[in-house]
Amino acid sequence: MASAFEYAPAPESRSVVDIAPSYGLFIDGEFTEAADGKVFKTVSPSSEEVLSEVAQAGAADVDRAVKAARKAFEKWSALPGSERAKYLFRIARIIQERSRELAVLETLDNGKPIKETRDADLPLVAAHFFYYAGWADKLDHAGYGANPRPLGVAGQVIPWNFPLLMLAWKIAPALATGNTVVLKPAETTPLSALFFADICRQAGLPKGVVNILTGYGDAGEALVTHPDVNKVAFTGSTAVGKAIARSVAGTDKKVTLELGGKGANIVFDDAPIDQAVEGIVTGIFFNQGQVCCAGSRLLVQESVQDEVLDALKRRLSTLRLGDPLDKNTDIGAINSAEQLARITSLVETGEAEGAERWSAPCELPSSGYWFAPTLFTNVTQAHTVARDEIFGPVLSVLSFRTPDEAVAKANNSQYGLSAGIWTEKGSRILAVADKLRAGVVWANTFNKFDPTSPFGGYKESGFGREGGRHGLEAYLDV
């Protein structure tokens, strides 16, 4: 597409981050090798360059980490809340100090644009620790009775789409309430959690309060099924979430699950179209669509469908896909070859089932994992691309005529995590928001997050809430 001004490259410097050639597991305040000596490589998804080699935790390491967390629990939970608070405030401040370094690291390991890690991930990470720090000595006032007690050792398994932010969502409330944690980051994005271990060291956090185990799904399974874990927190796929729900049956483990979604973004005919188009783009192309609460189904009122689609395609044609470290990049790399294969396969299914595919005309880099922003029209509710979570930059477009039809279609999903509403009519926003079976509803905005705002799903999107006062309950014996 011809443009009056071309963009010059504007890469963020890599020199701000120093990645070691290898990392161990962080157990009881020390970096240590896996018991069986296994390691695995983590690569930059935008270049396939090996960034580092990290220890691969096994069941023996999980056991060691849980023991360390158990040992640390006695003193940590007995600390006055005001002292726990100060540790968390320290962590929040160190994250702010080191945020550029962590943003670059996250972009390297995850593949998402520096614009996002710098302006969304890292500010939210620091804010989350700052928010829950303040709760640590105010739990009597949280509405869960006097002197609510922590659960014990929390086993936490997080995904690769927001590695450090998901860590913050898990660790901050757990520590504020007096629990100790063993956390397993995703195998494709282990590095920011290991840097976080260093931040815990700088903050002087007592040994064993936070333990980080890098590894694969088997380590995650060993962690959530460990008999001495009192709390399981998982963010990831619905299939794994169901397996976890089965595995804790008959135990007294408390569980929160943050799972998949197929969010409906509903555009009414009286919506400000330009704003709605920006919201649609934010909804499904933020973080390459690798977002559980993505607005992956566009429900557009029939009378404005052509207008919205024309504007949307025009806008998508201007998105800049490429080097995630470039400050002008809008669309980064897909996180892994495996995820790219999944997206590709679901898009092929969409085409095979008769939906009409349109992809933004953009050149894909020759190395790394990339997928052009894509949308499907002629989609029916029965189509796979309208039902299954794709977890990629792929939007399915459906239309509707009446608000009732929009609500019925939006709720026609096994999931219930997020939804969007675009209209200038206030009463319609409230009426539709009331009827949507989704945990987060964004009206005339999308993909906004805040530590004070509870987040979590209805139906098969999981249960429990993270964030806000609500997020404390998951880590308290109430």
């Binding site: 089965r246 049956a249 699950l257 905005t445 705002s453 014996d477």
Partner: protein
């Protein structure tokens, strides 16, 4: 007035599904006896099909009941208490026979059950303010969290406390707008089946509460596995059955309230649990003291939190100091 020679009229105990009183579609009944083994009645022995019919009725009722105003639901729950007050004698008789209690202990349990309806009637329009609210996000947005009912809830009523326990698990589920499929105590189902008659005359819309009698495991298994049930209260299940049902419930990620035998006891309620009361011995055998103040955990167990964002815009940078 009473005629010693008059032959009494027995009641045919029936299920309560969708506001109607059907027999089990299976045509089966089982003998219900008092604590000494004397025959009391034949109760319907519900089948898998009855359970599914009840789910359909509960789903159909959910839109209207969850959409009713909280004030309206509160009045309906209070109406249940009013109706029970007038039929107290009947329930005292049934509870005494079912649980082997003296008349005075049974009366205390029935009184407590009536008061429980009153307690939850008052919660319907307050839980939203306790469990929800505005969140001070760091940006120009209005952000509100509101609790909403989870949907269709399968409720396994306690096995021992046939009426106070039963009411204690039903009322909090429907107070917030959920609809319920209730599996009555297997050995003592009569107070539950009679409660259906009270609900039907208390302005509770048909399908909001559905009551099934029979073998707990037989009815609970299809409910736990049902894809259109959103949550399950396992109070009436023993540890082995509870585990089995929790595994089945994971298939569509039902919200599970575990039975007291496996559930951790909230520390702030632990002390009051030992307080003596007329139904102590009975409550203890359910490992839950139904006479204790119920708190809010049975309300919040079947609520979802919805958070809605909207931009606030800005009127100008300076603002007003007044």
């Amino acid at each position: 007035m009473s005629d010693q020679n008059r032959l009494g009229v027995f009641k045919t105990y029936k299920l309560y599904v969708g506001g109607k009183f059907p027999r089990s579609e299976s045509g089966r009944v089982y003998e219900v006896t008092d604590s000494k083994g004397q025959w009391l009645a034949n109760a319907p022995q519900s089948s898998r099909k009855d359970a599914r019919d009840a789910v359909v009725a509960a789903r159909k009722a959910f839109g209207g009941w969850s959409g009713a105003t909280a004030y309206n639901r509160g009045q309906v729950l209070y109406r249940v208490a009013e109706m029970l007050e007038g039929r107290k004698e009947q329930f005292v008789r049934e509870v005494a026979a079912s649980e082997g209690l003296s008349k005075s202990k049974a009366a205390a349990a029935v009184d407590a059950a009536i008061d429980r309806w009153v307690w939850y009637a008052g919660w319907t329009d307050k839980i939203g303010q306790i469990a929800g609210g505005a969140n001070p996000v760091a940006g120009p947005y209005l952000n509100l969290s509101t609790p909403e009912p989870t949907g269709v809830v399968a409720v396994l009523a306690p096995q021992k406390s046939s009426f106070l326990g039963l009411v204690s698990v039903i009322a909090p589920v429907i107070a917030t707008g959920n609809t319920a499929v209730v599996v009555a105590s297997a050995d003592a189902p009569l107070p539950a089946l009679s409660l259906g008659e009270v609900l039907a005359t208390s302005d509770v819309p048909g399908g909001v509460v559905n009551i099934l009698s029979g073998a707990t495991a037989e009815i609970a298994a299809p409910l736990a596995a049902h894809q259109d049930v959103n949550a399950i209260d396992l109070t009436g299940a023993d540890a082995a059955l509870a585990k089995e049902l929790e595994i089945a419930a994971a298939d569509n990620l039902k919200r599970v309230l575990r039975p007291p035998v496996t559930r951790r006891r909230p520390s702030n309620e632990a002390q009051s649990a030992t307080a003596s009361s007329p139904v102590d011995a009975d409550g203890a055998s359910d490992s839950e003291d139904w006479s204790a103040s119920p708190g809010t955990h049975r309300l919040t167990a079947f609520l979802e939190t919805k958070t809605v964002w909207h931009p606030t815009g800005a009127l100008g940078a300076a603002g007003s100091s007044y």
